[in-house]
Amino acid sequence: MTGHSIRKRIVALCFTLLTLLGLTTVLSGTAAAGPCSTGGKVVQVEPRGPVANSTPVLFVHGINAGADTWNQPEGVYPADKAQKAGEAYRPGKGSFPARVAHLARVTAWTYDYYAAQPEWVTDRRIGPALADAINCLARATGHKVVVVGHSMGGLATQYAASRSDGRSDSKTWQNIAEVITIGTPTVGSQLITALQTGTDLLSISRHPVLMTLDAVLSFCAGYDLTHEDDICNAFTALRSPQGRALRYRSAEIGKLPPWPKELPVRAIAGDIRFTLPRGPFDVAPPPEVGIGDIAVTLDSATAYANMTGKPQVLTCRPSGWKVLESGCNHVYIKTDPVVMETVIKQIERIRGTQPVKPVPTNPCPTRAELKTAVTRTLQAPSEVHLGDSKCYPGWSAVIWGDTPATDSVITTVFTRTAGRLKLATHLVPVMEDDHDPDWVRDCGRLRGMKPPARLLEFTGCPATAQQPTTTTIDGAAALGLIQRHNFSTTVTAQEITRMTGPLRAVQAACVGSANGNCVSVFFFYGNRYVGQATGSGQLRLASQNGTEAVLTRPIFKDTDPTCCPSGGTETHRVRWGGSAVVASPSLPYFEPADEPL
């Protein structure tokens, strides 16, 4: 074998070893990401069962932690136990989420917002992103989510529950089967308040709980358990800006949206009953004091439970420094065997019983979508300020105006197919100064599209065209009315009676008009006088057929003499709009009326 070939073999061997090393590193670090994973935040826990048709259980960690906090083995003194058994400590073996993942037809997931620490739950990477995760899991599995929130994870869930589900008018809580909070500081933490207040102020209060916390915090200095996740590490985080929001009855907690009353919330809390060690002293120690789970007092952790009975309280009586290792303390309680059993029982009870409603294939538009759709229909730029809106199967309608507080509003009606909006019609009250030819209240046209009755009701259009009680007209009475208005016409009473109705128009001239340019057209619907179109000159009734009348009007330029318009002719088509005369384009001078003849 030559030296050259040996060198080649050595290089090849090194390359292979390095490649294997690299591959191993990459593969071991790959998260078991599920369908709702966004940036690695939502991870399905092994064993990864089928997602579809499973009941998802989402574990949400608390302050100063990540999703690996759930890897803590069950029970107290986890590292000591493992070492006594001669085993190496293996995070993740028998973890809480893994036990849940083993349940039939259940998938377990962790939500990790470590990257957003130390922000408050309102940060978009915490509460809002958690809402997205919950909604995504519900859609992916077809079942509502069971959320298990430890510590601040419960508050993040409270915030997320009130968020929109992102697809419809529903909220995230409607995709949650039950929330289980463990050691959640529902009204804040007295310990955090104490830590942030300063130890000298503690001496002023002389509260027994705070005195006991002094002893516990003394024990924490230099405390060094193998597992990183211990109660003393949690205390370090409590001094952070995030910790400020968790002060007892803080403003931040007060501003959180309340839990929806339809959402079951189960509270689990630790209650350490601690007696200060007597020590070597010849005097008796103070009486036993309840310090909750140390980080969260009992009143806060049990402040809210809904539809799930009384909060579950685990009571422990550790002695001395071993309070740091108590299974009831804030860190260890989440993997206490009793707690895990409770949660698993609830999951088994809920499993398969709460499918989510299928996402509508033709969802109602959001208000933003309505605004965009209305704006798209405008022929000229205009502001769009939305008012009330309604959504019906296949239809949407919205009232809007071009200023926030206008009385001049428009109702725009859309048909809706697969979530896409298509303009059906705009409806506006007829206004004398409205020159836009397309925006005319036309209930007849809308009715012709056969919308739901409730939509018609919303728009103010009558369900059926208002038919005159009679289609006949008293021609003599009509003529008399015209004359009473100081107009005269060449049309006789008999001719009026014989006109095809129900809509009839009669052109008349002012009495005493010298040049014949003072012209009005009187409109009658059935046996009622319904309005008068006047013109500054040469308004003419061109034709009519009982449902539509056509008027022409010459257009005068600014320099035209009154005799001789040179701006062309405008044609107006006049119909009955259900409750009033409507013209397209609108007539410049129209006096509506509603008088029986």
Binding site: C220, Y223, A284, P286, G320
Partner: protein, 144 residues
């Protein structure tokens, strides 16, 4: 080629040996550094350091012959919460453990051997809180 490989191998071994000799800690072996006296139970604490002078004085005040001085060594709220009376009998001796001081976030602890007259020595864990007037004792636990 064999000579080359042999030379490389010897070079590596020599380099390792030189590195070890250069970087090793020359200090003599030290006892487990959690400050406990020999035979005392093991506590899950990191290596500690020497007590600050004021804290050491306060710890010794517990063994003062004056009952009021003993009480003054405690935080006011602990003093207030304990029954009235002398904390420790006259003649009590407190031997602070070297390098047992741990301090974090305004709190601390240390270990000591406490011997009351005529009684067996007790290994104790003492807790401290930093107040504006200096360190004060928050708790004393006898370790079993």
């Amino acid at each position: 080629m064999r000579k080359t490989l042999l030379f490389l191998g010897l070079t590596l071994v020599a380099a390792f040996g030189i590195g070890y000799l250069a970087l090793r800690d020359d200090q003599p072996p030290r006892p487990p550094d959690n400050g406990k006296p020999p035979g005392a139970p093991s506590l899950p604490y990191k290596s500690g350091g020497p007590l600050p002078a004021q804290a050491a004085d306060i710890a010794q005040d517990l063994a003062s012959s004056d009952a009021a001085t003993q009480r003054a060594a405690l935080t006011p709220e602990l003093d207030h919460a304990l029954e009235a009376g002398r904390l420790l009998p006259e003649g009590t001796r407190i031997d602070l453990s070297e390098d047992s001081w741990h301090e974090a976030n305004g709190y601390a602890n240390a270990q000591a051997t406490l011997t009351k007259p005529g009684k067996p020595a007790q290994h104790v864990l003492m807790g401290f809180a930093k107040r504006s007037t200096g360190w004060r004792i928050t708790v004393v636990e006898v370790l079993k």
